[in-house]
């Protein structure tokens, strides 16, 4: 558990992008004298991931998440810097590394659309050079684990997205990879399918010690799956701690929702509070605990209104992440 599965040092990736000036004349000029600008997609990244760790690698669109994954899987060459994945240099030893890693890109399927998943599994067993006995044993195990027996012989085009993603996960795990890279694996799934997929990923991490490297825009993925989170913005790491630490650091707000017995007429004002919603029988406020305690706010509510019920919640992780992005933009 102590060995580093991934080690990244000063990793930088710069892209050259063609500038397209407006107007026909400028378009014609650009044919002969094209102009370019450089985009630093990833800037000087430094981090390590321990073997068996579950890491969420998150950030807004264009923050450099996918570029980093592509460098770590050997698809992209970096502009500068070093990386070791399971001791391999990903871009120099891409093929060797590919025997030990798996990946699921939520928006890009690796299953054969018109054929049943079983055909892709068989193909992958040959691609990863597994002997038939090992393949059969592993497949039987994964079929039970991910509960895909009922649709293994159904063409992929006829599967629901949730079933398809489970089949994608089986395809990615057939060769028993030490690390799996999951790029938005729950995208487009309904609440139940998301939950099922998350449970399966967690089981794989626990039973096989597989390192999970996940990018997602869904805070639920991070909350339920990951121990640690790295937040990336504009190609730089802006946060790298455990998920609980993230909550503690930013959870200085509470949401208080009160149901009233009789309509509350007076406006509610209180130090450190922001009114979110007010109707005759309902009141919703947020409290910044740096300015006021939750207890004092509840006392004031009880004094001011005839209250039937009261609930206190923490803001969801999604809101915390949004706040971090916002703070960065302001800086």
């Amino acid at each position: 558990m102590d060995m580093d599965a991934i080690e990244v040092r000063n990793l930088t990736k710069t892209f050259r992008v063609k500038i397209k000036p407006p107007g026909l004349k400028n378009s014609f000029k650009a044919l002969f004298k094209p102009q370019y600008r450089w985009i630093e997609a990833v800037k000087n990244l430094n981090f390590t991931v321990k073997s068996g760790e579950t890491l969420a690698f998150i950030g807004p669109n264009g923050s450099g998440k996918s570029t980093t994954i592509k460098m770590l899987t050997g698809i992209l060459f970096p502009t500068s810097g070093e990386a070791r994945v399971l001791g391999f240099n990903p871009w120099k030893e891409r093929k060797k590394l590919s025997f030990h890693i798996g990946s699921v890109f939520g928006q890009k399927s690796q299953l054969w659309y018109h054929l049943p998943p079983m055909e892709t599994f068989y193909l992958f067993s040959k691609i990863y050079e597994l002997d038939f006995h090992t393949f059969r044993q592993r497949l039987d195990y994964l079929i039970d684990l991910l509960e895909i027996k009922s649709f293994i012989h159904t063409p992929v085009r006829k599967l629901s997205l949730g079933q398809r993603m489970r089949a994608e996960l089986v395809a990615c795990l057939l060769h028993k990879p030490s690390i799996i890279f999951l790029d938005e694996p729950t995208i487009g799934l309904d609440v139940v399918a998301k939950q099922i997929l998350r449970e399966h990923i967690r089981t794989i991490n626990r039973t096989e010690g597989t390192t999970i490297f996940i990018t997602s825009h869904d805070a639920g993925d991070i909350e339920t799956l990951c121990e640690r989170v790295i937040i990336l913005n504009l190609g730089k790491i802006i946060y790298d701690r455990d998920v609980n630490g993230l909550k503690k650091m930013y959870l200085h707000r509470r949401v208080i929702e009160a149901t009233l017995n009789t309509p509350g007429k007076d406006p509610f004002t209180c130090k450190g509070c922001t009114l979110l919603e007010k109707t005759d029988y309902k009141l919703k406020v947020t409290v910044d605990t740096h300015w006021n305690s939750t207890r004092d706010v509840i006392n004031q509510l009880l004094n001011q209104y005839d209250i039937e019920d009261i609930t206190i919640t923490e803001p969801p992780l999604e809101e915390i992440i949004r706040q971090i992005y916002k703070e960065q933009e302001e800086e």
Partner: protein, 269 residues
């Protein structure tokens, strides 16, 4: 052959066979989409028959032989994978290439196996359809045994040359925004300069060297010519020519591919 070589062969063979299975799912549709060869072959035969008029022979090719020459070139034309270049461009621009590059195989060999799966099935269907038509138009011509047997190596290498040319243009998508600019030009030039419309025997003498200095005749003319006029020394000459082009174009493709992979830019997502 070592154990790892056998595993590699099985790997690529499985890729080839899964592509075949993929087409078998909609075999009916696949056969129907190949029926356009009936019209194309019929029209080209009729045009040439008018061209021959009352003559039985032109540029050393008899009328009956020409019908079979046209059969071979039309079957090749309708069987080669013209979508390959577009598929590579699509893989590069959509970022789908990421699903191929993170697997333990060569992207080029993977693409070759996929393309070959399609070509082999096309070849069987197109050949079966047009064979019936050729037998109807020129039943008295019996192709020499060597002419039939040569099809295996000469067609294989011809298709390989076609594949390499398509790849060279498709991989240009790594640099260009659209590689499709080449599609029409390459495909037309290939057919015309390859002897796909007019046999090279019937070209003016001043143009004939063009066939020697370009690889296109190795795709269309070589197998069709040997099918009707098989001579062993001509077979060896054509075979050597094809090996030469495979070597030259293959080296060019590998060089281009290695450079392309280093400059791969895939946007996020």
């Amino acid at each position: 052959m070592g154990k790892s070589m056998i595993k590699k062969f099985i790997k690529y063979w499985t890729i080839f066979s899964i592509e075949l299975k993929n087409h078998f799912v909609y075999l009916g549709d696949f056969i129907l989409s190949n029926l356009s060869i009936v019209v194309a072959y019929f029209v080209s035969v009729q045009l040439w028959l008018i061209g021959y008029g009352t003559r039985q022979e032109m540029a050393g090719i008899y009328k009956q032989e020409l019908i079979w020459y046209l059969l071979v070139v039309q079957v090749i034309h309708f069987s080669v994978d013209y979508t390959l270049m577009l598929n590579i461009e699509e893989d590069v621009q959509s970022g789908n290439i990421t699903n191929y590059l993170n697997k333990p195989y060569s992207y080029l060999l993977y693409t070759y196996c996929i393309s070959s799966g399609k070509v082999v099935l096309n070849l069987i269907i197109n050949f079966s359809i047009s064979l019936l038509m050729a037998l109807f138009f020129a039943k008295s011509f019996v192709p020499p045994l060597g002419g039939v047997l040569q099809l295996f190596p000469i067609l294989f290498l011809g298709f390989l040359i076609h594949f390499i040319l398509q790849c060279i243009c498709g991989i240009a998508a790594f640099w260009l925004e659209r590689a499709t600019v080449f599609v029409w030009v390459l495909n037309t030039v290939m057919l015309v300069l390859g002897g796909g419309l007019i046999p090279i025997d019937a070209w003016p003498d001043s143009l004939k060297p063009l066939a020697d200095y370009t690889p296109f005749s190795a795709i269309f003319y070589y197998p069709a010519k040997l099918f009707i006029h098989f001579k062993f020394d001509l077979f060896l000459h054509f075979l050597a020519g094809q090996i030469f082009w495979v070597f030259i174009l293959g080296s060019l493709l590998l060089l281009e591919y290695r450079r392309a992979i280093r400059k791969l830019d895939i946007n996020g997502g």
